[in-house]
Symmetry: C2
Subunit: 319 residues, 2 copies
């Protein structure tokens, strides 16, 4: 497999994908966030989370999407924060969010009640939300410490440009930066120039779609935009038999630090963290499930250790 | 345009679209809900809301979707309830929901605080959510009266089968039933038999998709499944110049009662309600916007009047 050339990817990005209008502003915000926390001795992780929307029409009624609730990214953000990282959370609009994710399976209005029938006093029923006090306290600590910077995307174009901006913004803190690329990014797209303006008419008959391959942005990210950072990508397959091979091939091709490999059906209880030298199976036991342990806690613990080792090696090699 | 034949649509539904396993149970629930409210003298509206997911793989990683937050359906449900209707809310999983929709632009944890620093007392900050007491009160009334029956779908297949079941469940209450088909339903799909099992590999090169046309379910719904009901469909276009013509053509083809026609960019402030004899433009003025009037209030008011007239005519023609 030939390596994609960096210059051609940068060119494609400019040509086929419209940059969001606020890109420079967001980039400056991310750079300031990273500088400030690195100076305070913190590491910074950029988490991507959720699926990307790929429009089929420029005035978009229809789009292609990737399955992803954003659960893994939102949950991992909490464990990175618990491990002392500052977190840039680059996520799909309305995907799961750290801390609030715990309440998304219930209707919030079912958890509220009038205290003593008083309309001025609306309180949370802690029998419906038993963890609310603990979660709210932690949420407020994170907020007061400005430890979480949320950035939203909707479309694939926005994602690609924001990830590039984030990589450039984090390059100033060198090996203190980690990338945790958990978003489910589309492999296919329709270039702006080939997209119909208006809603495709069903009266025109069956739909024939021809979609191009999305440039592999991991390549310039690792080589050019943030060459000193610790980079973790994710591989999701439905066919377990090809998974590890694909994870190894990704490491060979892009020369980054780790791949978290997982299979759709078992992704909440089993992953393999693959690095150039190692391969660690992380498994959630029945006991873990009973104790509400999440696999993201294990993934984050594994990667923060690897990041520590990586930083030491980088420092060593620079002396 | 030739009319689709009912028998062929029923056949297609069974062949190309898998029915959800709980379909009979849901159908019985809807039928009981409709009977009970009709006996109490209430009309019943079936609202569909949100976009439909069209899988590209049977173990689904990728899917085609239609733009829809579910805002129109959720908002309309509240106005139908205010007008005395009982509501079956057939909506896309995690799309906007009546009453809670008002809080979806904020992070719920930003609206909560500890009262007097006491972890046992988590209260809503009514400066962040000024309408919470009013909305919670109305939500609880609706819940106590069992006036709202929520049913969820995710995929196009689930939507089609649930809509058919709903139509059959509502047929027993005749002209007291209204259909308000606001969901953004895909026009295209890939039959189960032509779908790959596993995630499509990007290493196979660019993606060629060939999608079939979804059967026009409005046809058997109007003619066969719920022939006495008042049926409203929606037409969304991005090109205003073809909109009214398409609305009229839909009425000619399916012989139902009303089409709500709207253009993507202006849909929150302007719609046209088209019936075989009339055409009513509904426009939100700047004053309306200032006073937080929503266009769904106007749409629902227009249609409930038309429904009243329709019921009287039906009664007359049966004597």
């Amino acid at each position: 497999m030939a390596e994609p050339r960096i210059s051609s990817i940068d060119g494609k990005l400019a040509e086929d994908f419209a940059a969001p209008s606020h890109i420079e502003e967001v980039k400056e915000k991310m750079a300031a966030f990273a500088r400030c926390h690195a100076e305070a001795g913190r590491r910074v992780v950029l988490i991507t989370s959720g699926g990307t929307k790929v429009p089929l029409e420029s005035r978009t009624v229809r789009f292609l999407d990737n399955f992803s609730s954003g659960r893994r990214g939102a949950s991992s953000a909490e464990y990175f924060l618990d491990s002392g990282y500052a977190v840039i959370f680059l996520h799909r609009h309305r995907s799961l969010y750290p801390y609030t994710r715990m309440f998304l399976t219930i209707n919030m209005l079912d958890a509220l009640q009038f205290k003593g029938g008083n309309p001025g006093d609306v309180v949370v029923n802690q029998q419906v939300l038993p963890n609310i006090a603990k979660v709210l306290k932690r949420y407020q600590e994170v907020k007061d410490g400005s430890l979480l910077l949320p950035i939203e995307f909707n479309t694939l174009s926005e994602y690609l440009h924001l990830l590039k901006a984030a990589a450039q913004a984090l390059s100033s803190i060198g090996s203190k930066a980690m990338f945790y690329l958990a978003a489910a990014v589309s492999d296919f797209y329709i270039p702006t120039s080939e997209m119909p303006e208006h809603k495709i008419q069903s009266s025109d008959g069956p739909l024939q779609l021809s979609m191009k391959m999305v440039p592999k942005i991991l390549s310039p990210l690792v080589k050019d935009w943030a060459p000193e950072a610790f980079v973790t990508s994710f591989k999701l397959e439905t066919d377990a038999s090809i998974l590890l091979d694909k994870a190894r091939r990704a490491l060979d091709t892009y020369r980054h630090q780790a791949v978290v490999a997982n299979v759709l059906d078992s992704r909440r209880g089993y992953v393999v963290v693959v690095t150039p030298e190692t391969q660690a199976e992380l498994i959630l036991t029945e006991d873990d499930v009973r104790n509400e342990v999440e696999i993201e806690e294990m993934i984050v613990s594994n990667l923060t250790s690897a990041h520590t080792k990586f930083m030491t090696q980088q420092d060593g090699s620079q002396k």
